[in-house]
Symmetry: C2
Subunit: 242 residues, 2 copies
């Protein structure tokens, strides 16, 4: 009963997030995000997904693979509580948990065969590129959405806290790279940065600190002053990030 169980991924996520910094803290906060779940053989058969197109949303059970070397901690400091209040790890959705399992509901946008690969197209995800996926389940509104549920200190969507503006050259870079990538980068960067991805303990600082996040094959740089973020530049990564 106490033995360990072994699970092999059924697929891997390809997303625009090449590092943890900047990823929305819950799925659904940035609906414009798209991720692709590439299904591994022998599971990459259309019939294993037959009927899933009738569902608007799916659960993705995944591994926080960037945290595998971290020990579990009994208590964590959720960003939602300003990063200075501790709660139990099982009272949080922190990735630093005894079993680094993640759970996200995302919109199901399609099932595509691309160059021999079977891929699920997912909307609104919060996945790091390369995330191993253990299971896909249909979202069942009547079973998964209990009426009268309430969520303590995390009952409502976190507000977008940061105003965002762009320098003229950053706006141009959004247009240029966005055309190449097929994405509205201005909207995406605005939404991501407006949620203030900075560590919570820094959110009261307004000393013109520079921040950068990797998005697709780009470095996005901004500066924060008095709660206002100004996007300075988007430029290609010097080399591909693993």
């Amino acid at each position: 009963m106490r033995t360990a169980f072994q699970f092999a991924p059924v697929g891997v996520i390809h997303s625009c997030f090449r590092e943890k910094f900047g990823i929305p803290r819950q799925p659904g906060l940035v609906p414009g995000l798209t991720a692709r779940l590439q299904i591994h053989p022998p599971y990459d058969r259309e019939e294993a997904f037959r009927g899933l197109e009738a569902f608007s949303h799916v659960w993705i059970l995944f591994v926080f693979h960037a945290n595998l070397q971290q020990p579990w901690r009994p208590m964590v400091r959720p960003p939602r509580l300003g990063g200075n209040r501790q709660v139990g790890v099982f009272a949080s959705r922190s990735p630093f948990r005894p079993n680094p399992l993640g759970l996200s509901v995302v919109a199901l946008k399609g099932l595509e065969r691309q160059g021999g690969r079977l891929e699920l197209i997912l909307g609104g995800g919060d996945f790091l590129d390369g995330t191993p996926v253990l299971d896909v389940k249909p979202y069942l509104p009547y079973a998964d959405c209990p009426t009268q549920a309430h969520g303590g200190w995390a009952d409502a969507m976190p507000p977008a806290t940061c105003e965002v503006s762009f320098t003229e050259s950053a706006r141009e870079a959004c247009r240029d790279h966005g055309r190449r990538l097929g994405e509205d980068l201005e909207v995406l960067v605005r939404t991501l940065v407006s949620q203030d991805p900075r560590p919570a303990y820094k959110s009261n600082e307004s000393n013109k600190q520079r921040f950068a996040m990797k998005l697709f094959d780009l470095d996005v740089e901004w500066i924060v002053e008095n709660g206002h973020a100004r996007i300075l530049s988007l430029h290609p990564l010097s080399k591909d990030v693993p």
Copy 2:
């Protein structure tokens, strides 16, 4: 990226269901059910759950441990579709999946220390006794309950299909054993049997077939005729079921 991941249980479920037959097909269908999640060391520390009491519901990620020897199948026949239509395994919540991981949202009724053991009290579960649990996460209404989600052929709660009556001796047995167990067995048996736990392919049969399920330390026997179930008896199991 394709390597397997190992997870050890953080706890084990104690429930009234000693076998799979009779277990509700989704959590929440029988709110009167209570299960206890006993937390294993080193996770059995109150601080690891601090703050969880603010949430009304929790996700339980568990292993379908009774199905570990079964191979995965690309397609399954969900009971909701009468057991005669096939859908892809990833379009179902069937336990026969590549990774036998289960996901249930249940009401959180309390956290108790019982004889040195730390236990979460869960309401409305669909767990087999002895189920290994890999993770407990707070249910976040704003993130876990997407608006406008729809659920294909499983959009609404399955109706209770079976009328249920009791013989006088079965009703007495409910009272006697219910007193000993501290449960309203009549309500519990009525609700469970009204959901017609028979295999879907049998649900059109009305030839007075006998059925039996194990509940707590009891055998519950009933007969079905013309869609009406009559509870015949509740008696102690001859020996303890593993």
